[in-house]
Symmetry: C2
Subunit: 324 residues, 2 copies
């Protein structure tokens, strides 16, 4: 029975266009309809992705590719301008900083660098996401991910525009440093993945920092301080808030409260000007909540439906009681 449920769920996900697809799309070129779900037991469970839209968008769409190119382009322009003018401004928060009153590690004469998250910022983990989808995983599988970190290098791609931006900045004397929560014990795999994507070379402890390099686990602030002690960090890029500061983890975690943190007066002006965000609707801390969490109460519209017929007309429509 579960197989049938799964088949039904998958068929509806793949077949159903977005409810709002036609809203702004050009005249539809019809997609081949998915085969009708079978009602007998299929030979094996087909994959049942619970959230195909995020995956379709991030790994397949032209729009996400353009958006990612845009982000790399503006990051490179932003850094280039400072390198050319010689006016360096660091963007790593100082240890005594708060989000309401951000202070930055001063640059002094340190050489210019940028600090980048790896997964779904610098590279797309195509192989791991394909495997998750085909294996129909509903929860994170640590062991599978560990094998991916060790052996997946040939199955990644750079995010669109990453290679061009990093090549340009390296040409201009900027050191590219990666700060990832991949495991330090799998450093060779992380180096191999970045090299395979054309974004290397990355060397653990020099231009690659990982979970396990210090005692703070997945918290990245310690590693950011280590990097900022050696370099003037002109830009950071990531797909998660924690790619910019661990302070975000100490803020309230409800949907609305979490969303509000990025508009704090001290922080709002950093997006696109030192802190650069890559799209990721596939996983991460931002994907939480149901309709009542996501949509504010005063925005919860319900379609009233077609206008009701006038009362007199409605009267005539009441079916007469049948004589027995």
């Amino acid at each position: 029975m579960n197989h049938v449920l799964t088949a039904l769920a998958f068929a509806s996900l793949v077949a159903a266009p977005s409810a709002a697809l036609a809203r702004k799309a050009p005249p539809a070129r019809s997609q081949p309809a998915a085969a009708a779900p079978k009602t007998y037991f299929p030979p094996e469970p087909p994959p049942a992705p619970p959230q195909l839209h995020g995956i379709q968008y991030l790994y397949g769409s032209a729009e996400a590719a353009a958006l990612t190119r845009q982000t790399w382009r503006i990051l490179a322009d932003f850094v280039d301008e400072q390198v050319a003018s010689g006016t360096h401004k660091g963007v790593v928060l100082a240890p005594d900083s708060t989000l309401a009153n951000p202070q930055f590690v001063p640059c002094g004469d340190k050489p210019p660098a940028i600090v980048l998250d790896v997964d779904e910022t610098s590279i797309l983990n195509l192989g791991a996401e394909y495997d998750d989808l085909l294996a129909n995983r509903k929860t994170f599988d640590e062991d599978a991910w560990d094998r991916w970190e060790k052996g997946g290098a040939a199955y990644v791609a750079p995010t669109p525009g990453a290679k061009e931006a990093l090549d340009r900045l390296r040409d201009h004397g900027v050191t590219v440093i990666f700060n990832s929560n991949r495991a330090a014990v799998n450093a060779a795999g992380a180096e191999a993945a970045l090299n395979a994507a054309g974004l290397g070379s990355a060397r653990h402890g020099e231009t690659l920092f990982l979970n396990g390099d210090d005692s703070r686990g997945s918290m990245k602030d310690g590693r950011r301080q280590t990097i900022a002690a050696r370099y003037c960090v002109l830009a950071m890029a990531g797909d998660q808030l924690v790619d910019f500061s661990d302070l975000f983890t100490t803020e309230p975690n409800g949907v609305a409260a979490r969303r509000a943190t990025v508009a704090y007066s001290g922080i709002a002006d950093l997006w696109g000007a030192g802190w650069f965000v890559m799209p990721n609707p596939v996983y991460g801390s931002g994907l939480q909540g149901g309709p009542d969490d996501i949509f504010p109460k005063d925005k919860q519209w319900r379609d009233p439906g077609p206008p009701k017929p006038p009362a007199s007309e409605a009267q005539t429509e009441i079916p007469a009681k049948k004589a027995k």
Copy 2:
């Protein structure tokens, strides 16, 4: 039975964290588990969103809010710089242009303007998306959307950072023009929505162009030419490729081919420098395809699983045949 299926589907969507959630997240703050689905007939079908991740990301996440702020920030900076320097470069493609060899409508002495898509670019249609979710719509409902265009103004919000950017540019003498595929017959509703979001004033035929203004239906190039005849368009913003040029609709529409168009040599450098993309993993032409379309064949990794025990050990594990 359908109700039970729906309940199961919804419970699994809301309860299941992303398979990769823990990959880069800070130590998890646990969400309350969803109640176990009931196996008897529930009183009414609960909503069963087929694609909650896209919705969680776009309307709820801090990351999408930061990414959208970033895009408005760089658009405003890009335009401001040209206004300040007096070097105007139009970004509307000329009628004889191709994507491979883009040519732009010249600016002459025309006054500076920007051209913006409306839905999920300038405003978030919170009410309509909430209603889609609660009504569990699987396909686009033209009638419901028409009622939304007419009466939804109080239930929208500006995309994060839109108001600040538009206020700044208007202060600097830039005209803000909207080019939307909302229906011309519902112009009053579109004006009301933009005004309610704090992005007005928008006036139909002057600073607001809609589907029905000319004979080309949802194709926006004709309206773009009308606007570019009056203004020097320094930047365009949208969440769909057709918000920049109808030429994208004449390109091959497969996932990989469509994604490749944004990297055409003549086009690749426009993203973030004249053409500005907003995130939308909820609806649109980019959301198509299954695993084999989205993931290139050479990136389709499968987890090999834990290492197999050595042959000798495996031998000993074969259960001896039971004596009868």
